[in-house]
């Protein structure tokens, strides 16, 4: 008996969009992420003050009309710093995620399609990287290469890429035996063409969900790195750095950390909700997206 094929009527993308719109949590997530992107881009227009200017006369002021979110120990305006603070986090974590997920997806698809020794080698290497405690890997990389944003991007790629390889490979293994891939193979199409036309588009849903989910982890990871002193250089406004600078004052000047914590958390919550919504809309089983 054939399955009823009445779903997915109007175009895959529009369908996805429709499903996203249908889910309030997915919409909330998308809106939160979009809001953060807009704020990051428009920070110079929105910020009431310079994010880096010190002011010895106005240190550690609690929120008031002149400083809506208060000031820190250098008299810098917390609101301005928070508005600017997403720029680095977003750009570094987005590019790191793009790289990790992009590379991981490419390698995962290739391994799934070619199988054989290539797959064996890739999976062994992936397993070996995943097996090294990430802390250790990260510390070694950062100690070898420094804390330049480029290095952080690279380190995140090394730490998260293999996990993506695994998940995407599993998804691609599902696609490879499909008849349209067989048909392409019987036509004698090249590996690249098959990956690009037949496998890639059909694991895209998994890749997108991986992207949103990993992005949320990477944002947290990078904030942890900032916290540990491997992140942005002061006086750069950066949430992780702000929290680590001001964390010790949580008891006496809570406003200094609360604004960046809220900003950070809403971004991560937004990414998570978007990932969930995307997964639901695209029919990806998030239960199988392993954590690595």
């Amino acid at each position: 008996m054939t399955r009823t094929i009445t779903e997915r009527a109007p175009g895959r993308l529009r369908q996805t969009w429709g499903a996203l719109r249908g889910s309030p949590s997915a919409m909330t997530g998308a809106v939160l992420v979009a809001l953060h992107l807009v704020i990051a881009l428009a920070a110079p227009l929105l910020a009431p003050d310079s994010p880096v200017r010190n002011n010895a006369l106005e240190t550690l002021q609690s929120p008031s009309l002149s400083h809506l979110a208060g000031t820190d120990q250098y008299g810098r305006d917390i609101l301005s710093r928070t508005l600017y603070g997403g720029r680095l986090a977003l750009s570094v974590s987005l590019s790191a995620t793009v790289l990790a997920v992009g590379l991981g997806a490419a390698v995962g698809c290739l391994a799934a399609y070619r199988r054989g020794w290539l797959d064996d080698v890739v999976m062994r290497v992936v397993d070996a990287i995943l097996a090294v405690p990430p802390v250790l890997a990260l510390l070694v990389i950062v100690t070898v290469l420094g804390t330049d944003p480029v290095v952080i991007v690279l380190a995140v790629t090394v730490v998260y890429g293999p996990g993506v390889v695994r998940v995407v490979r599993a998804a691609a293994l599902d696609v490879v035996p499909r008849d349209y891939v067989t048909a392409a193979r019987a036509r004698g199409e090249g590996t690249f063409s098959v990956l690009l036309r037949d496998i890639g588009p059909n694991v895209l849903d998994v890749v997108l969900v991986e992207f949103a989910m990993r992005a949320s982890w990477v944002v947290l990871l990078i904030s942890s790195l900032s916290f540990l002193g491997f992140g942005a250089n002061p006086p750069t406004p950066d949430w992780g750095l702000m929290v680590s600078e001001n964390r010790s004052m949580l008891a006496v000047a809570p406003w200094t950390s609360i604004a960046p914590i809220i900003a950070l958390s809403t971004l991560v919550i937004g990414l998570n909700m978007a990932a969930d919504g995307l997964a639901k809309a695209l029919g990806v089983d998030r239960a199988h997206g392993g954590a690595a």
């Binding site: 290497v125 250790l136 100690t143 239960a287 954590a291």
Partner: protein
């Protein structure tokens, strides 16, 4: 079955070996070496050369790697380049402490997550689900250092219920560590449980919609039995792997939390070892971490087999 386990163990050894090799090569690339770290401002050329010879660093890297490998195969992890203490003993002690923390966290976190995850899945889109899902979302979105700091502020400074830090050393008796373990454990539980809850919720929803659950319902058996006997074993399957990964992550060293609570575990040792370029220690942590990872994975797969009889006879592993 036993052949399968043997095969997996063999693969595990390959993985561990690759991991140790990778870490060894990466550490070779670390700028400076242990001698300059030890000697600091006194690192004259003669001093460095003497110390290198003393520590056996003048051998070729491969030679050192092979020596270390053969030592390890005999259960000898070498001695620290920094304090010449036995690496096995040092790492072992830290590992024990980390295991204690991980153990308490796993028991707390997994049991909490199982209950909440199943409840959320069963009450999908109703208030218990909404409450649990939102809380876990918040748990996932808070950096650990924030959670840890807030916990300390609340429960050891404002209301002095728990110690804020561990003052005992790595060799403290477990009984001495125990009172200090709760706050770090809770901080980790929040993060860990959040992921498992969400995973389990999804999987419970999937399984409750499956044909065999419908069939079981239509057999006229009680709803509780349908959930516990028919749905839960299958719903747990995808979660096992996540739990295993979390355990591996806990044992691999949770540096932020260990650092906030000054917990004498593997994480703090890792930082020290990397700073000091203490290769034998780094290598040992890498190998033990990799071993934990592969063992956790193996355990998850075996648990999956226990839950899912299909995997016992009909396994296709990649």
């Amino acid at each position: 079955m036993s052949r399968y386990i043997a095969r997996r163990l063999l693969l595990a050894l390959v993985t561990i070996w690759l991991a140790s090799l990778g870490v060894f090569l990466a550490v070779q690339a670390l700028p400076g070496d242990v001698t300059t770290q030890i000697l600091g401002q006194n690192a004259t050329r003669a001093n460095v050369a003497a110390l290198r010879a003393e520590l056996g660093l003048d051998e070729s890297p491969w030679r050192r790697y092979l020596d270390w490998m053969s030592g390890m195969l005999h259960g000898d992890f070498g001695s620290s380049l920094v304090n010449h203490a036995s690496v096995g003993a040092e790492v072992g002690l830290r590992l024990r402490n980390t295991m204690l923390l991980a153990g308490v966290t796993v028991v707390l976190g997994v049991s909490l997550a199982l209950v909440l995850g199943v409840v959320a899945g069963l009450y999908r889109d109703r208030w218990p689900d909404l409450a649990i899902s939102s809380l876990s979302l918040v748990g996932m979105s808070m950096p650990e250092f924030v959670i840890a700091t807030v916990l300390v502020l609340l429960f050891s400074i404002n209301i002095p219920l728990f110690p804020a830090v561990v003052t005992a050393g790595p060799d403290a008796r477990l009984g001495d560590l125990l009172p200090a373990i709760w706050l770090p454990s809770i901080a980790l539980t929040v993060v860990m449980a959040a992921y498992i809850i969400r995973m389990l919720r999804t999987s419970v929803i999937d399984v409750m919609a499956s044909e065999f659950v419908t069939t079981a319902r239509l057999k006229g058996i009680s709803p509780a039995r349908v959930v516990l006997r028919h749905a839960l074993p299958s719903a747990l399957l995808p979660t096992l792997n996540v739990i295993a990964m979390n355990i591996a992550w806990l044992v691999g060293g949770v540096v932020v939390v260990e650092s906030v609570f000054n917990y004498p575990g593997v994480g703090l040792l890792t930082i020290d070892a990397v700073h000091n370029r203490d290769l034998p220690v780094i290598q040992t942590i890498a190998v033990l971490g990799a071993a934990t990872y592969v063992l956790c994975n193996l355990a998850a797969d075996l648990a999956a087999m226990a839950l899912n009889p299909r995997l016992r006879t009909n396994r296709r592993t990649a």
